[in-house]
């Protein structure tokens, strides 16, 4: 378990009114933005549980749009996120879903379309105190929080890929805190998620990208 820092207690510094409904929403959407390589043109938010019930009164809608625009929890522009979205040419829609039950009460599915027309879907949950967890990418169950330096690798599910990734990291002397492999079907695509204590620089990413079965590498 990660130690509780004083900045978890005296913090987060955030735009109100709610750490789970506002700050957590900003963080989920910001993680989605960092996951996407291209520029996001369209976004649809499907809101579940408590998010679906109270999103307007807690500014969850503005917080989600703000995160997609790259704002963090301290950004005073969050309040006017809809205006900034208009300026940036970002189309956004909200769809409250009060029927489907999710594991966590504050859950949102974010479906984005980038400038190349590619669609990505990410499910995230706001788990309290502004902390968040990403639960799904493109239908594949994953789990990471964004608290550590996180590398998300999308790959073809073939033998030797994971060994290649770990040897690349060790070549650059990077210590892995957590590493998990997620896949949907054997032989299809998979995600390797690596959380490290140190920052992972560009050279490591480039080295990993060289492998023919690696489809994309993102650092968030």
């Amino acid at each position: 378990m990660k130690e509780i820092s004083i900045f978890d207690v005296i913090g987060p510094n955030m735009i109100g009114p709610s750490s789970s409904h506002t700050a957590g929403a900003v963080r989920i959407a910001l993680l989605v933005r960092k996951l996407i390589q291209g520029e996001i043109r369209e976004v649809k938010f499907i809101l579940y549980g408590s998010f679906a019930q109270t999103y307007k009164g807690h500014g969850t809608d503005k917080a989600l749009v703000a995160g997609i625009l790259g704002m963090d929890t301290e950004d005073e522009r969050i309040k006017d996120a809809f205006t900034y979205a208009k300026e940036a040419g970002l189309c956004y829609t909200f769809e409250p879903n009060t029927i489907k039950h999710t594991d966590h009460p504050n859950t949102v599915e974010v479906i984005v379309v980038d400038d190349k027309g590619e669609t990505t879907s990410v499910v995230g949950a706001s788990i309290g105190g502004g902390n968040v967890r990403i639960d799904q990418i493109n239908g594949v169950d994953v789990e990471f929080t964004g608290e550590y330096c996180t590398m998300i690798i999308k790959q073809q599910d073939t033998p030797g890929v994971v060994a290649y990734i770990t040897s690349s990291l060790s070549e650059y002397n990077i210590n892995i805190a957590f590493m998990r492999l997620y896949r949907e079907d054997k032989g299809a695509f998979a995600f390797t998620i690596i959380e490290t204590d140190e920052h992972i620089d560009e050279r490591v990413q480039d080295k990993i990208r060289e492998h023919a079965s690696i489809l994309s590498v993102r650092i968030i």
Partner: protein
């Protein structure tokens, strides 16, 4: 240096003759990748946000998201010279209420420990700083002290209203502020923990029943109560009055009370004031 309970914290402080603030700073250096300068800089930044939030509420017209609150801080502040509570408490409650106005109007605050209880610490801290001419450095020390209390509650119980009711949120903030005030006014580490116990014990059992599910009412008034309770608790302790139950046991009691609270009284807006006829009528058409 690290500690997990108030008992461990107290023995560290007494063995090394250091205040709680110093122990918390050393702990943060141990568990994080930050050095002392970086930690203090980030604490100053948080305190600046708190000060700015207090000032905004007194100088701007803030409108809350749900429209249930707005302008109360100014009204209370206007009475400070003829206040029933005296200038220190009058300022503390006015400032605490103001920070809640900033929070609910999508302004910048520090969740300390939560957004719903974000008024207590800035309220108490700014009021006592102004009335006693404390420097920002002294206030950062107090913030470290408050952080130690909040850490112990977070680690061993909860500061979430959904889990433990208002006693966990405003209760924690009030205990944090009480301990900090105690250190600022020359209290020993043991007295700080006693003040924190007193503050938490005074609010034991308070439910979380936000009208309309919004962080507005009765949250704003309860932040004022949490601020005054912190000052009362510090005063009782500094007078040499000991608390019967040690802080760790008080925290455990709070946690157990929280867990035994029905679901309706833990932030769901299904019970307490939120379920009253008038509250439900007032909320029609907000969303």
């Amino acid at each position: 240096m690290n500690f997990q309970t108030a008992e461990e914290l107290l023995s560290l402080c007494e063995a090394q003759h250091i205040p709680i603030s110093k122990a918390m700073l050393e702990r943060e250096k141990t568990i994080s990748h930050m050095n002392e300068e970086e930690i203090l800089k980030a604490m100053h930044h948080a305190y600046d946000i708190m000060k700015n939030a207090v000032s905004r509420a007194l100088n701007e017209d803030l409108v809350s998201m749900g429209g249930l609150i707005g302008g109360e801080a100014k009204k209370v502040y206007a009475r400070k010279d003829k206040s029933a509570c005296g200038p220190l408490v009058s300022k503390a409650i006015s400032y605490a209420m103001g920070v809640l106005e900033v929070n609910t109007s999508m302004g910048l605050i520090v969740a300390a420990p939560t957004a719903g209880s974000s008024g207590v610490i800035p309220g108490v801290f700014r009021a006592i700083q102004e009335e006693n001419d404390f420097s920002d450095e002294q206030m950062i020390g107090a913030l470290l002290n408050a952080g130690a209390i909040g850490y112990i509650i977070t680690r061993n119980a909860t500061v979430s209203g959904a889990e433990g009711g208002c006693q966990a949120e405003v209760g924690a903030a009030s205990a944090m502020a009480a301990s900090a005030v105690c250190e600022l006014l020359g209290g020993t580490p043991r007295q700080c923990l006693d003040a924190a116990s007193t503050a938490l014990a005074n609010i034991l059992g308070l439910v979380c029943d936000p009208v309309g599910g919004l962080v507005e009412a009765p949250c704003q008034n309860r932040n004022a109560m949490g601020a005054s309770n912190a000052l009362i608790s510090a005063e009782i302790t500094l007078a040499g009055i000991k608390h019967l139950v040690p802080f760790d046991e008080t925290v455990e009691a709070m946690y157990k009370v929280g867990r035994s609270m029905p679901f309706e009284l833990r932030e769901t807006a299904l019970g307490g004031l939120a379920a009253t006829k008038s509250a439900c009528q007032r909320c029609q058409g907000i969303f």
